[in-house]
Symmetry: C2
Subunit: 230 residues, 2 copies
């Protein structure tokens, strides 16, 4: 029973963790792998260790935007926790890495027996809902540079090194803006020396400065996490 990198698993009581661990399976998640498709039954629930997944809300066929990031601090498939097995959102891997997964049915059975695990996951559900709500605020009121800063910070929180492997194209889809707008905004951050950009990835160079740009659009769900789980 090694120490898990995933903070939810790490927060479990040893007894609860044992109950889960017999069912948990370690998997390597490659980039763009779909963990949940819109309105499809969720098969597995993933606890990322080093991977990061995006939760993307979809309208009709075309309109889509990222509403949340899930990394080592969380878990996918909250719909299972809410007594359902599907959601209109899409979830896929944004940054490749390791995760532990459990079958949705198995998780549901464990949850029935285990109140403290259920409570922990519900608290995370609250945190994640807060993240979605704050994304709605940022989308409605923040400038692109601030939203970009917010995304970089959230990704940075969930990565091991200061490195985030992402293309402008993908960032544009996540933020719901043009690819060209992302290029311009990232350039601005790089010229100020806050990040270093390479083809297909960026490195956080001055986190404090990026936090200053994001302002209060970053930090609310993070504070909720610390209060309820951390």
């Amino acid at each position: 029973m090694k120490k898990h990198r995933n903070r939810l698993l790490a927060a479990l009581l040893p007894a609860d963790l044992n109950l889960l661990e017999t069912q948990l399976q370690s998997v390597q998640l490659e980039k763009r792998r779909v963990l949940e498709a819109p309105n499809r039954t969720v098969e597995y629930v993933y606890f990322p260790e080093t991977a990061i997944a995006s939760v993307v809300a979809v309208c009709g066929r075309d309109e889509r935007i990222e509403v949340g990031l899930i990394g080592c601090e969380g878990v996918s498939g909250l719909t299972v926790l809410m007594g359902d097995r599907r959601s209109p959102n899409s979830t896929y891997v944004q940054v490749e890495g390791e995760a532990l997964r459990i079958e949705a049915d198995a998780l549901r059975k464990v949850l029935l027996q285990n109140e403290s695990l259920r409570d922990l996951l519900l608290r995370f559900g609250h945190v994640f809902t807060t993240q979605i709500a704050q994304t709605a605020v940022a989308n409605g009121r923040a400038k692109l540079e601030q939203r970009l800063a917010r995304w970089i910070l959230m990704a940075h929180d969930r990565t091991v090194a200061d490195d985030v492997a992402i293309t402008h194209e993908f960032l544009a889809v996540m933020l719901g803006v043009r690819r060209a707008s992302v290029t311009v905004a990232l350039d601005a951050l790089e010229k100020k020396g806050f990040i270093a950009a390479r083809r297909g990835s960026l490195t956080v160079a001055d986190r404090k400065a990026i936090e200053k740009i994001a302002g209060h659009f970053y930090g609310v769900p993070e504070a909720e996490f610390e209060r309820l789980i951390g």
Copy 2:
């Protein structure tokens, strides 16, 4: 034991409803009454009958935007269901009317005993999270006229008559835009004959047409509601 207008209460099994009803208290909610303040303990959980409440996400001191509407289809205070007693969001009455309320502690006790009630509320939690996520999409990708149409439809779903009592000023705060922008957009809808506007309120005249304007930015959480609760 009269039939409740609130659709969650109406969906309860008689036994479950009885358990709740001894604790439920009918209240008249005046405009702008605060049901939940940011990061303050929730005292009561409200099941609106004719009232409508706005859930507003707050960043720092100034930046705020509505992330959800709660009317006769739902319940406030989901944070209580998630095992917490507070949230960074603010909830207040947008359209005055009646509601039934229960003390947060009392609800929590009832939830412990009553699995089917808990399951129902959890399913509503899923629906409401979907609503927040779709708000994030609309804020990021829709034009103001579409967002306005979406808001009108959601309010219309929750009102008795076709009438919604709201000022441009308040709508502007909800949508996170200028008051003047709301005026212009509402004027456009009125000139097309889709709504009738008076000082401090508006009436839905051609719902189908408004749905067409909102497009796929309206309807996703509503479909989830029908699937899981309706």
